[in-house]
């Protein structure tokens, strides 16, 4: 039983790892992959689904009236419905839009909103902990259209500071907020923020890039109007992202990119956009990637997202204890202390050893962590640092990965003295 009282089955990592070819590809050397927040590994089921599609079925979708083209369309649209249902979309076949990644999903919104709804001086509220993907598109809109951006700041414990939230949301048109911080790991109180934002008449966009791959997601429960996420962080391929949006809002927005497939009619003097969801999908879409992502969703659903979350909480708890008992005050973990408030992400400073040097020494032991600013430079400035090292988990990690991390950090400690 987990904290919600839902029955979960513990993950059997040794079995799961057999499904991931990458773990058997390294000359028999162990690979301690702790960088899934950047991109996850892919199970054989995802690779086979894409391979099978290319080997047996490939043709362009929504065009041919021959049988493999029809089958390709069925698979592509089937993937859409499955992925939409995975995040609780009420109308998955209409409201789930395929993009290139979460970044493109947010760019689609910032672009269509500024050509449709938003006017000069309109307020968009973001947070200080956003990934550049949910900052730069709005900064571009500010530059081009003169929208105003306000920020919810981060407090010293890694939570959003909600003291002046009503002032910030006053007259706001949009609130766009990450569900889980890719640096601090903080899981934000999105439902609470969404309810407040709606009270002020704002629409609510969730950046789910670090959330959807790890926690059971339901857009209605979260109170969202839009949700952006990406395939490659959730065991799926690169090159595919998703934007879910409420039908009536998607209807009201102008299209993003123009081209084939997104139109109902084209004349020399104009065009009529296609219906949802194709209105937002110009050109040949990432068909094999959609099929691969649907296989990834099958894989995750088969494990159960409750189990995935329970597994990550156990790993987080073990990692916190282990890092603290070995390194004490030499190692500072950023973000909330309460692991229930965290995703499977641990950013840390280790003595005064630069994250690059840490990462380099860890690499010698086969331990893969991310070192850098994690595409969140404003947050880095807030923390008063230029970079952190970050270990992040997914279903194929277990305590041996944390043990390898601890051993390798001890080596770094010895090396840099």
């Amino acid at each position: 039983m987990n904290t919600l009282g839902v029955k979960t089955r513990p993950l059997i990592v040794s079995e799961i790892r057999k499904d991931f070819p990458i773990f058997t590809q390294h000359d028999g050397k162990d690979l301690f992959f702790l960088d899934s927040a950047a991109s996850s590994q892919k199970p054989i089921q995802v690779l086979q689904a894409m391979d099978h599609y290319y080997s047996t079925t490939h043709a362009n979708v929504h065009r041919g009236v021959y049988h493999i083209a029809e089958h390709a369309t069925e698979l592509y649209e089937g993937a859409r419905a499955k992925i939409g249902r995975f995040v609780g979309a009420p109308n998955p076949s209409r409201e789930t839009i395929f993009t290139k990644n979460a970044t493109e999903s947010i760019n689609l919104l910032s672009n269509s909103l500024t050509r449709g709804t938003l006017k000069k001086g309109d307020v968009v509220v973001l947070t200080e902990m956003e990934h550049h993907a949910n900052l730069v598109p709005w900064l571009m809109a500010k530059e081009q259209f003169g929208i105003e951006i306000r920020y919810i700041m981060v407090d010293e414990n890694g939570y959003l500071n909600l003291e002046n939230i009503d002032d910030l949301l006053q007259d706001a048109k949009v609130l766009s907020v990450t569900l889980t911080s890719n640096v601090l790991g903080t899981i934000n109180p999105v439902r609470q923020l969404a309810d407040l934002a709606h009270k002020h008449g704002a629409i609510v966009i969730g950046d789910g890039a670090q959330y959807v791959p790890h926690l059971s997601t339901n857009v209605a429960d979260l109170g969202l109007d839009f949700l952006a996420f990406t395939g490659h962080k959730m065991l799926g391929p690169t090159g595919i992202g998703v934007l879910w949006g409420k039908s009536e809002l998607l209807e009201s927005l102008p299209p993003f990119m123009g081209g084939g497939d997104m139109i109902a009619d084209v004349r020399l003097d104009g065009f009529t956009p296609n219906e949802l969801p194709w209105k937002f999908e110009a050109g040949t879409p990432p068909i094999a990637e959609a099929i691969g992502l649907a296989a990834a969703v099958d894989y995750l659903e088969n494990l159960g997202m409750g189990s995935v979350r329970e597994h990550e909480l156990e790993l987080l708890s073990y990692a916190f204890e282990s890092l603290e008992s070995h390194f004490g005050n030499d190692l500072v973990i950023h973000g909330p202390r309460n692991i229930q408030d965290r995703g499977g992400v641990i950013s840390f400073d280790f003595r005064d050893i630069h994250p690059h040097d840490i990462s380099q020494i860890l690499d010698q032991s086969g331990v893969c962590v991310r070192a850098g600013h994690h595409c969140a430079k404003p947050l880095m400035r807030h923390l008063g640092i230029v970079a952190t090292a970050r270990a992040s988990f997914h279903i194929y990690n277990d305590q041996s990965d944390i043990d390898a991390l601890v051993d390798a950090l001890a080596k770094a400690q010895a090396f840099f003295g």
Binding site: H354, P355, H356, D357, Q360, Q364, K377, V386, A387
Partner: protein
């Protein structure tokens, strides 16, 4: 896989832990330039006191990994008291050392190879092992690129 000892030579660790010419100069009379490595967030500022065509003195300040900080320290020692012509030559041979001729993958800059002797490079030779770690080449070249910017800022 190349070993850590190729990368973290003793001289490098020494310059990292005890950086030479660290600090700032008032501008003017000094000229300065800020360098960033957007990939990893390294930041450093180079200050130059020029007298005619000689770098009379230099200060470096900033944040970065052991490679970028030690390279900045080594660079400051190498160019201090040198004429701009000598600095230009050092820059060319350093960049030449940092280029990868056999393997063009990674993010290394492709630089025209220049003939040079190890004697000319002096302590800078300690950074030779960095080329085996392509991702780190930008760390090693950041201070040199910033030096060039500082010299250019004077020209403008």
């Amino acid at each position: 896989m190349p070993g850590l000892e190729d990368l973290y030579r003793e001289i490098i660790l020494d310059h990292y832990k005890n950086p030479r010419n660290e600090g700032i100069f008032p501008t003017p009379p000094a000229v300065k330039a800020e360098g960033h490595n957007p990939l990893c967030g390294d930041e450093l500022t180079v200050y130059l006191l020029l007298e005619g065509d000689v770098i009379k003195d230099i200060r470096v300040t900033g944040q970065g990994c052991s490679i970028s900080r030690s390279s900045a320290s080594l660079m400051s020692v190498a160019v201090k008291g040198k004429t701009l012509e000598e600095v230009d030559h050092l820059l060319k041979i350093f960049k030449s050392m940092m280029s990868i001729s056999t393997n063009s993958s990674g993010e290394a800059e492709v630089v025209e190879p220049v003939e040079y002797s190890e004697r000319e490079l002096g302590e800078l030779i300690a950074l030779q092992g960095v080329v085996k770690f392509p991702v780190r080449i930008k760390c090693a070249t950041l201070s040199w690129n910033t030096l060039v910017q500082a010299l250019e800022s004077r020209a403008s």
